[in-house]
């Protein structure tokens, strides 16, 4: 019946994205916009990346996280350490931060894999036969001693592996990166730094999420808030361990390599990946956990896996965004990663609509426009009113549109490739889960 095929959605979406990219690029190159506006646009893109990660955690997986800023901070600081070392050559060997971080990540992954491979039922059997009828505290203490020995062996293994890896990686980087021409080598290093920062954030998210994700929604939110404050305090005292991080004085002289091309490229790749994840079978599992955990479990979905997966990927997004932020402003201070600032991505995703990628993208642009636009609009002497008017706007928007700007609607290629399974707005799902808890 259909004689005229519609234009595929990916074409229109690609066109819009290309238009936005070229428009900002040309506008900056020709000086149509001031460097300040250019900066704000990049910041909007960065906050969109971070908010997309949180939307995966809270909007799609229904896990109320207040600690997103912690992962953002981890990504920012670790990638800044890597590139700063390259430009200022503060340690004798050049790429030790990069190789240490990568080797550390790989070492921890190795340890996790080994622990997952361990046959705990076999160990239990062997313990039972060895310990006999030994009861009570003695039994407990012997079991924990044996487990400690096993853990120590694994950890020593991991440390040794990462030490060897670090030596190898450092030799490799010292050989390869200086061999590249400066323009390319810079970008390669930046990419490596972003990936390392993002992966470190993802790894921390996995390790933090594993014990905490079984908490109920509000408790999980508070626990992650606690995590964010722990990260903040550690950053404030980071100079006790790594002198270059400078703790509460703020880390300076980070190369300012982020530009619109980087932000746009990273944002589009991450949106592409997120969209494909959400509509894959893993994504459907993630969404089903939000809708009803018990029903999902009954359908054979590995709840722990999909929760930790969503949380780690969300942390990865935040880490990447943090890395871009560090190289945009060139200066990092712990107060940037205060938990009060951590509400920003949450406000963005609720404002845009939970579980809507389009909404998050639009909302982060609008959010930056409101915050920075007020700075421009307000007359002299009224600058202090910026954060008085902004919460009033927030209140009005929340009172008028309770489900967020776009609800759960998606636009263009971001729309689900299959018919929506339920017509019920996604927000109601989250709400009903919470009411169940009450």
């Amino acid at each position: 019946m259909q004689t005229l095929r519609r234009i595929p959605t990916w074409i229109s979406t690609l066109l819009v994205a290309l238009f936005l990219f070229v428009f900002v690029y040309v506008a900056n190159a020709n000086g149509w916009i001031t460097p300040y506006v250019y900066n704000v646009i990049q910041l909007a893109g960065i906050s969109a990346i971070s908010a997309l990660g949180l939307n995966l955690i809270y909007g799609f997986n229904g896990q109320f996280s207040l600690g997103h800023i912690g992962f953002y901070a981890i990504g920012a600081y670790s990638s800044a350490l890597i590139t700063k070392e390259f430009t200022s050559r503060w340690s004798g060997t050049q790429f030790s931060a990069l190789s240490w971080i990568i080797a550390g990540i790989l070492g921890v992954i190795l340890v996790i894999l080994v622990i997952k491979r361990l046959r705990f039922d076999q160990i239990k059997k062997w313990l039972n036969s060895t310990l006999g009828e030994l009861k009570g505290f003695e039994r407990w203490i012997l079991i924990s001693l044996i487990l400690l020995v096993i853990a120590a062996v694994i950890i020593v293994l991991g440390v040794a592996a990462s030490w060897v890896l670090q030596k190898g990686l450092q030799a490799l980087f010292d050989l390869l990166i200086p061999a590249l021409p400066e323009a390319i080598g810079k970008n390669v290093l930046m990419l490596l730094a972003l990936l390392a920062g993002g992966s470190l954030a993802a790894l921390v998210a996995y390790l933090v999420g594993l014990p905490l994700l079984r908490l109920n929604s509000d408790y999980f939110g508070i626990a992650t808030l606690g995590f964010a404050i722990v990260v903040y305090t550690l950053l404030q005292n980071s100079d006790l361990v790594i002198a270059t991080m400078k703790g509460a004085r703020g880390m300076v002289e980070i190369p300012r390599w982020t530009n619109w091309v980087w932000v746009a490229a990273v944002l589009s790749v991450l949106v592409f990946l997120l969209r494909n994840l959400v509509y894959s079978s893993y994504g459907r599992a993630i969404v089903s956990v939000r809708e009803d955990e018990i029903a999902a479990k009954t359908m054979g979905i590995d709840i722990v896996q999909s929760k930790t997966l969503a949380f780690a990927i969300g942390g990865f997004y935040a880490g990447i965004a943090g890395g871009l932020y560090a190289h945009l402003v060139g200066f990092l201070h712990p107060s940037t990663f205060d938990f009060v600032r951590g509400f920003d991505p949450l406000i963005i995703i609720v404002f845009g609509g939970l579980g809507s990628m389009t909404g998050t993208l639009v909302a982060s642009a609008l959010f930056s426009a409101i915050i920075e636009g007020l700075r421009v609009i307000l007359p002299q002497g009224f600058e202090d009113w910026r954060f008085v008017i902004y919460p009033i706007l927030l209140l009005i928007i929340m009172l008028l549109r309770q489900q967020g700007l776009l609800g759960t609607t998606e636009w263009g290629w971001l729309r689900a490739p299959y018919a929506p399974i339920r017509d019920v707005p996604m927000v109601s799902g989250i709400n009903s889960v919470n009411r169940e808890v009450a």
Binding site: T130, L131, G132, E133, L134, K135, E138, I141, L142, L145, P211, L212, R214, L215, N216, D218, Y219, G221, I222, A223, L225, G226, F227, I229, V230, Y232, T233, Q236, N237, L240, I294, F339, V340, F343, L346, I347, V350, F351, L354, D384, R386, F387, V388, Y390, P391, I392, L394, L395, M398, L399, Q402, Q403, V427, S428, I430, N431, N434, E436, V437, A438
Partner: protein, 333 residues
Amino acid sequence: MKLTWRRLPLKLIAWVIYALLAAGIVYGIIGLVRLNGSVFFIQAILDGLKLGFVYALIALGYTMVYGIVRLINFAHCDVFMVGAFASYYAITRFGWGFVPAILLAMVVCILLNITIERVAYKPLRNAPRITALITAIGVSFFLEYFTALKFAFGADYITYKRPFEVVVWDIGGVLISNITVIIVAVTILLLLLLLYVINKTKIGKAMRATSLDKTAARLMGINIDGIITLTFAIGAALAGAGGVLYAIAFPQIWTFMGIMPGMKAFVAAVLGGIGNIGGAVIGSLLMGEIEVLTVSFVPFGSRLRDLFAFLVLIIVFIVKPTGILGEPQVEKV
């Protein structure tokens, strides 16, 4: 239990470990006491108590509001700040004493919190909870930045003038000031009053019913909106008193002073099991003690005080996911 040859080495290992553990604990305590003196210990415990009781006053407001409407009222810490400022003006401008100042702070906070509840939260009663949470964050921002304007409280630190002279008693080396005594006395008084209202009066019964099941309570003829407003009012009164006491103990106030104590009090409420009044008090005392003991005994303690407080929170959650006194939540299908 018979001691066989096969089990003997295991037994021996276990006993060695016992002995090592006991020796380690004893050695640690003796070392700490010899290093700092036992007086220092008692002093730290007392200071922690002082801080903990102030946290308790704030935490009660959080936990009661959460128990009834399941809302993390982020604006509560700013109500606390307004209480401190109200008493500051009462003391410096009008020359009022301690008791009228604290009463004024409580009244101002009650009015403020009722207004917030009516304007910002009531229209969202049936909205998704996250919307109300974002609104609460918005209200919090508004209060902080609006009061920081020049014609309001101003953005600077202000030195708080205590309404009474500080008297310090020296009891065997332990210093106790009348500030500690007043904080503990006022908190215990308010706490007893609160327990009386909640457990012995009809209104308290209605509040308990509302927090258990709102729909059923409404069917029993309880005025839900009234009860919610009342809960906000009681929470605000406690926060106002807490603000005055906090300002007396740490006499420096500014419009963002509420954020960190508020956050810690809230975490303390969650630590004790949110929605549970006894839990809030226990959690707050624990929080205050951890903070002061960290500052006193851990190297770089004053820089790491928040770290330990929140690490304890995370550890408690891993061991007991609903807090110390929280009832395990049964999953319903």
